[in-house]
Amino acid sequence: MMDVSEYRKQYEEQLKRGAGGQARLRDVLDRSKSVPERLDALESVRGAKGQDVVGDIVNLVRNKDEDLELRISALDGVSSEVGEHHVLIDVTLALLADQSEPPLLRRAAFRVLQQSSFRTILFQPRRPEYLAVLRGVVTDADPQLRLLAIETLAVEKDGEVQTRLIEGLKNPSVALVPPEKAIEFLGYDLHGSYYPLLREMVETSPNPAARREAVRLLSADATSKDMLARLLQDKSEDAEIRTISATALQSIAPAEFEAQAKQIALDEEEDDDLRAVCLSALDYFGDQESLNRDEEFNRGIDRLSSRAQSGALESASGELKSAGGELERASGELERAADRFIKRRRQ
């Protein structure tokens, strides 16, 4: 909590800044001064409000002859005033749309608009214009700006952007973003038409990141159940893909997941991370009655749990060495999961 004396000090400084605001604003606008001096002055007028101040700052931001860093700082400085001055929205939208402006300034404009979109209710009437400008940025030369625009529109479930993302997945030569990003963005709308394409990508894509994202998204599609079950069963498949498949299968077909997860959890030849995931999922989301009835499974978990207890003892006596690295860490996680499983049942 802030000390009272500290608060008073800050408040006095704020008052001083306000009193000297006009003088400092002149410094900001004075092009004979160096950029660092003007940036310093800009910092001083950051808290200042009023039509005149905002008007002067807006003029500075719009002036293409001004220093880029100064323009960006000036825009950031007035971002909190967007709700008070409609002109700021106009200026910021124009900056974002203007491809002749430097990408750094346009990204700053995007940040201001993005913040305003959820910070002030006054932004809502301008939403249609904002979305229209973003559509123009989807094919922008600046990849970062493009990515930002595409993601924002994807969150809005924009049909045009979805079409372009799907086209990019089908034909990488027209892709606007990397495939894993495209899939991630498509996932904002589960009512899309991309599930067959995703299934095909899981089968054929050489890109592991894209495959992982595709499997993640298929968790919404019940018709992908068989594919997810197969991926989970396939010991030759990438462990992360199998783990994601396990989560996805648990979501859409819990009974099938449970049957497979029990086998995997007790299979000594399986990946320990995957075994731990399966065991935790059974513990928290499984059908507890059927799990309690499965004596063979419970005996297997008892064995794992006792290993966890002995492991803890070994660890305590300092005998457990970390020479095994990741494998040992994973094994520890599996055994702890088994231990938790047993304890929760005894409660």
Partner: protein, 544 residues
């Protein structure tokens, strides 16, 4: 595409451009506009296996075309549905455009337009109908709000009563609208004021019960045998068949799915179902009406999801109150209800609001579709169905949408009819001497034309026994046997006292007991005996 009257059949394989080409052709030949209406039901194979956005584009483009072709009345439910519940700016704007060319403008459209303004003001977007696949930036962009306010203006004199509200938007909610939308509101007000047409008081009202599109449809058609075997799983994992649940008592069924992203549809429907359950209880009809919410998405809406979705919206659960997912044959269910839903794979890409009232055999009695249903209206209709089911089958009359007549009046009259045979039996002259006594009592003039008919005695006995059978059937259905025992005792007393003992006063006692038994049996439930006046009053007072 040649411009003939030929109407293409579209399906999931038809390209969007082909559909757009057809719409453009109809715009050039407006007399074919009904073909566009036929593209609007969700069941149209055109929408199968398309993404939700593709469906929005297609439907929006079709709706907007009515602005050029004129909007037929058959399209009105689709247009009002978007205005009342739509959350997509393109579809709402398209509906607003379509409404402008409705040839029966009326002030009754205004609430739908205002509702659309509220729905879309935080979800508006820049859009255009210049072409099916516009290039951005569009030459003539618009927004849903602009299109809505243009439509207000187009309604002219019919929107006169909206002027004060429109001006209120300009004055008190200025910041809620952009400058260009405010300009559109001002233009609408000017246009409405400039129209001095006398529209009269009764001009052009909307069709009544717009959402009751299929009043008692399929009446007389039996529930297909295949439906009986459709299996459900409820929110607790219990398995039951269609005939297990949808029998013995009327049911109210809504459709929903938990992944629906339109808060005005599934979420609101299930919330209103909870209110309906409460209204049923308050009307004393609990135990006589069943409620069910069936998911469109049975693969995803597993029992825990069903339960959580219902609980979060206040749904009560019980043997007669369940949330259900189809286990084996959703297609059969879809066909039976003629569900307004379309899918991409297993995921819903479009659906309408749907509520059905089923009779005690699972037959569809009423359907509320597309527009929001009112709790009170649904309860009234379900209650009337209940009353109809209580009548003997041979006297049942077709139901009407209008409020049912007071239940107690019918109940008493039915009971009097039921008690008539034993009374007649009591007074029936059982021999020629008795007949002579009656003649002497009433005078020859009154009864001389009536021949002595011993066979009529047996007719009266048959009528009494028939009444007893009906009371028994009703008793087994309601699981309340007091009325039956009373009627049985009365019948026995009446028969024995008349035929063997010849004790008239005992006959009157028997008749009184039959009358009382019949009266008790005819009531919806003996628990409700004292509540009947309240129930009938409640039908007019229970609302949301």
């Amino acid at each position: 595409m040649p411009e003939t009257d030929w109407e293409p059949v579209f399906d999931e394989h038809t390209s969007e451009d082909e559909v757009a080409g057809f719409v453009a052709a109809v715009k050039r030949s407006p007399r074919r506009r009904d073909a566009l209406v036929r593209l609007l039901p969700e069941q149209n194979p055109l929408y199968l296996n398309r993404g939700a956005n593709e469906v929005i584009r297609l439907r929006g483009y079709v709706l907007a075309a009515f602005e050029q072709t004129g909007m037929p009345e058959a399209a009105l439910p689709y247009v009002l549905e978007e205005l009342e519940n739509g959350r997509d700016a393109y579809l709402v704007a398209a509906a607003a455009k379509a409404l402008r060319s409705f040839d029966r403008p009326t002030t009754e459209l205004l609430p739908f337009l205002f509702k659309a303004v509220e729905n879309i003001k935080y979800a508006d977007d820049t859009l255009t109908f210049e072409s099916y696949r516009p290039r951005w930036p569009a030459a003539h962009p618009t927004t849903a709000l602009k299109e809505l306010f243009i439509t207000f203006g187009c309604l002219g004199a019919h929107a006169r009563s909206a002027v004060a509200d429109l001006e209120n938007l300009l004055e008190n909610r200025r910041d809620a609208f952009s400058a260009s939308v405010r300009a559109e509101i001002e233009r609408a007000v000017e246009r409405i004021r400039a129209d001095e047409t006398d529209i009269g008081a009764d001009c052009c009202t909307l069709p009544k019960n717009l959402n009751l599109l299929a009043e008692r449809f399929r009446r007389g058609r039996p529930t297909p045998a295949s439906m009986a075997a459709v299996e459900f799983e409820d929110q607790d994992g219990n398995v039951l068949t269609f005939s297990d649940f949808f029998s013995r008592r009327p049911s109210i069924v809504v459709f929903f799915y938990s992944r629906c992203d339109n808060p005005h549809k599934c979420s609101l429907t299930v919330t209103k179902l909870a209110r309906l359950q409460q209204a049923i209880e308050e009307a004393g009809l609990d135990g006589q009406l069943k409620t069910a919410a069936i998911t469109y998405d049975p693969a995803y809406d597993l029992p825990p999801r069903l339960k959580a979705y219902g609980q979060n919206r206040g749904v009560r659960f019980g043997a007669d109150k369940r949330m259900l997912r189809s286990r084996n044959n959703f297609k059969e269910l879809e066909n039976y209800f003629d569900s307004g839903v379309s899918f991409i794979g297993s995921i819903v890409n479009r659906h309408r609001i749907e509520l059905f009232i089923l009779d005690d055999k699972g037959g569809i009695a009423y359907a509320f579709t597309r527009l929001q249903w009112e709790v009170r209206e649904v309860l009234d209709l379900a209650a009337s169905l209940l009353e109809n089911a209580h009548r003997p089958a041979q006297t049942a009359k077709p139901l009407k949408v209008a409020a049912p007549p007071p239940a107690y009046a019918r109940t008493v009259s039915n009971s009097i009819l039921n008690a008539a045979p034993p009374l007649l039996l009591a007074f029936f002259p059982k021999c020629p001497l008795c007949w002579a006594a009656y003649l002497s009592a009433f005078g020859i003039t009154g009864l001389q034309g009536i021949p002595y008919s011993p066979w009529a005695l047996y007719v009266l006995i048959i009528l009494m026994l028939s009444n007893l059978v009906l009371v028994y059937r009703r008793a087994t259905r309601m699981k309340e046997f007091a009325a039956f025992y009373l009627a049985l005792s009365g019948t026995l007393i009446a028969l024995v006292s008349n035929l063997y003992l010849r004790l008239d006063y005992a006959s009157y006692l028997g008749a009184a007991m039959i009358f009382s038994g019949s009266l008790l049996s005819s009531l919806p439930s003996k628990r409700n005996f004292l509540l009947l006046p309240l129930i009938n009053r409640g039908q007019n007072g229970v609302g949301e």
